[in-house]
């Protein structure tokens, strides 16, 4: 049974500012003289969107900045109306579009609880009953009678979140609210959201850039791009598509600037030649299978002797989550580097990451730990899923060799040899 129906909805905004008297006057004169009139350019924030959401669904909405996510939520929350198309939502909507919208700085925490609750449509009796719980959730017992202009920003956000999530509504709309507070409070918010979702069976729409959160909470994801519905379906599939799209974008951006490389620092003693990925046969490649051998070759030249330098090669995700790094500092008899060209190979026999896009970083320090060269995203490569990947459990980052014992009988998964996967 669908609770939200969105039918060919478009939302158009006019770019630029509101016409001033001067502009109107100029336009009148231009019209009288038969000249073209200056008009503000329309901008389609949402472009012919159609979908329905069933009761009890938890739907994530993702997409790059400016894709129209917030506009969509505003339309659903009835804050603004579509330019074309129709939109219907059955049931009471609780919009958590911005935590703390409508908090008044001059009022005390207590007064704000009642005010904000009233704005969100919670009756006075209901909020009075929940008051203590809200205050203790927000951890504000001591400060509840202090004007909130004296609160820290974290305190305000905690209060806003605690009030907003005490709404009893059929449809809950959440925009990026979980990205607030310190880690401990985020954890609490997260649990509360899950309780709201699972406990009450409300229909929930979540907008977030934190795809991991979406993956965890949602059963279905809508992906918006330039105001259009780019994908609609199973969470993992759409999230995967989203990762791919943003990686492509990052990739394209990096290739645009300095040929894909980010050189953070160089003392001038080292000139980077190339950073390549090699396959088993030593041929250049851009991808390897999950669990396969990672072989990185870095070519560079040195213009003066570097005695016993420390070389670091590592990997990171496109959003700079550092995955691995290894240093030659562990090698006691590492060689000196004479002036001239050099080649370094870094080999990881089995690189245990799931399919995705990853990057190589590279750094050189001299024997006194002085930074000589550091660079990131020097090579972007993809890991392709191996043959058995689809049969494995979702929601993981690592692919580790595993063995099982069931009722004492050992089993081993038919984890494919890297070679076999590479050929599939």
């Amino acid at each position: 049974m669908s609770i939200i129906e969105v039918n060919h909805v478009s939302k158009e905004y006019r770019l630029g500012t509101i016409t001033s008297f001067k502009d109107s006057a100029t336009n009148v004169i231009r019209r009288l003289r038969g000249k073209p009139v200056k008009q503000r350019v329309p901008f389609l924030a949402l472009d012919d969107l159609t979908f329905t959401i069933d009761e009890g669904e938890v739907v994530g909405i993702i997409g790059p900045n400016g894709a129209g996510k917030s506009t969509l939520l505003k339309l659903l929350a009835n804050v603004t109306t579509p330019t074309r198309g129709t939109l219907a939502a059955r049931g009471k909507i609780a919009p958590l579009i911005e935590v703390g919208a409508g908090l008044v700085p001059d009022l005390t925490g207590r007064e704000n609880v009642f005010l904000n609750a009233a704005i969100l449509g919670i009756s006075r009796a209901a909020i009075a009953k929940k008051f203590d719980e809200i205050v203790s959730f927000a951890e504000l017992e001591e400060f509840i009678d202090t004007p909130i202009k004296r609160y820290s920003s974290g305190m305000k956000v905690r209060l806003g979140f605690a009030i907003a999530t005490s709404v009893n509504a059929e449809i809950l709309i959440i925009d990026e609210v979980l990205a607030v507070g310190d880690l401990a409070f985020q954890r609490k918010c997260f649990d509360r959201m899950e309780e709201l979702i699972k406990g009450r069976g409300s229909t929930v729409l979540i907008v977030s850039h934190n795809i991991r959160q979406i993956e965890r909470m949602c059963s279905r994801v809508l992906m918006l791009e330039h105001g259009k519905l780019a994908a609609d379906g199973d969470t993992l599939e759409v999230a995967d598509l989203f990762y791919r799209r943003s990686n492509e974008k990052i990739d394209a951006y990096h290739r645009g600037v300095h040929g894909g490389m980010t050189i953070n620092y160089t003392s001038g003693e080292v000139t980077l030649g190339s950073v390549d990925l090699l396959d088993e046969q030593g041929r250049l490649t851009d991808s390897l299978p999950s669990g396969g051998k990672l072989r990185v070759r870095v070519r560079f030249s040195v213009n003066r002797v570097l005695k016993r330098p420390e070389i670091v090669v590592g990997t990171h995700t496109t959003d700079f989550f550092y995955l691995s790094a290894s240093s030659t500092a562990l090698i006691d008899d590492r060689p000196d580097l004479d002036p001239g060209a050099h080649e370094v190979e870094y080999i990881v026999p089995s690189f245990p990451l799931v399919a995705g896009t990853y990057c190589i970083r590279f750094a050189i320090f001299d024997q006194y730990q002085r930074k000589v060269f550091t660079g990131e995203s020097l090579k972007i490569f993809t890991i392709v899923p191996n043959a058995l990947d689809v049969r494995d459990a979702p929601m993981r980052r690592l692919v580790l060799p595993t063995r099982w014992r069931v009722d004492g009988v050992p089993y081993s998964s038919s984890t494919p040899a890297p070679m076999e996967a590479a050929s599939s």
Partner: protein, 272 residues
């Protein structure tokens, strides 16, 4: 009509909380607190009384300070509630942009907030009347109705003004000027009787006199202030002939103003 009232009734709790908020916020960090609500009409009364001693305005058998204070009560209520009402939607931009509420809540609570301040000033009027040993008659029961009518007049201007103010802030800028002009066109400093004597009795403007008087009373405040003084001070019923033109005008404009507001409401969040 009834649906509108029912919707508003639905949101009574919210309006109560918002009114409370408006008052608290306004006087929270003021040492004199809500006394400020009284100080303005009181100081205006003193100034007018001072001016009157030079100019000489006929106030009948009512002491001038009481007469002018009784005029200032509905006037200040009208002026403040209109001003506050016109700014109300823009002042609540953060809520308007994020959460849906029927937006007429904002002008409405702005006007009601001023009603509370009016109530406080009314005590001062009672004090003044006691000082001059004037006792009200049963006609004072008209007073709440007259104030309700004033509220509707404010709302008529506030609804359309607030809606336009969202797009063009010129309204907010022009308002103080227009209101101060309107004050002189209303019987605040002088009693309505003076105008009536000049135009109706003496026919000062010749054949135009009656028309001019009707035009003058088309300003709802003319009838409101005069009738308020009648029922509170003079112990007389309201002067319906002075009220009729303004009442008619309000009855026509209020629904139009409300319609315009509801029609504009859809784009508030986009342009505010």
């Amino acid at each position: 009509m009834f649906k509108v009232i029912r919707d508003i009734y639905e949101y009574r709790e919210l309006m109560a909380v918002l009114t409370h908020k408006n008052i608290t916020v306004r006087y929270k960090q003021a040492y004199l607190g809500i006394a400020w609500a009284v100080l303005r009409p009181l100081s205006l009364m003193l100034i007018f009384t001072l001016v009157k001693s030079f100019v000489g305005i006929e106030s009948g058998d009512i002491p001038y300070p009481v007469l002018t204070f009784a005029a200032l009560l509905p006037w200040v209520f009208f002026q403040d509630s209109t001003t506050e009402g016109i700014g109300s939607v823009v002042n609540n931009a953060s809520v308007v942009k994020k959460i849906y509420l029927p937006r007429e809540i904002f002008p409405l609570t702005a006007v009601i907030t001023k009603l509370v301040e009016f109530g406080i000033s009314a005590f001062i009027l009672a004090g003044l009347m006691a000082w001059y040993q004037m006792a009200p008659t049963a006609h004072i029961l008209w007073a709440p109705l007259i104030i309700l009518y004033t509220l509707l007049v404010s709302l008529t201007i506030a609804l359309v003004g607030a809606a336009i103010n969202v797009t063009y802030r010129d309204v907010g800028a022009a308002l103080p000027i227009l209101l101060s002009l309107l004050m002189y066109a209303s019987p605040v400093i002088y009693p309505l009787q003076l105008v009536k004597d000049k135009l109706i009795t003496q026919q000062a403007a010749g054949e135009w006199s009656d028309l001019l008087y009707t035009l003058y009373t088309l300003n709802p405040l003319a009838g409101i202030i005069d009738s308020f003084q009648n029922v509170v001070l003079r112990g007389l019923p309201p002067d319906f002939s002075a009220m009729a033109p303004g009442l008619l005008l309000t009855a026509v404009l209020l629904p139009l103003s409300y319609k315009f507001f509801k029609w504009s409401e859809t784009y508030f969040a986009d342009v505010i």
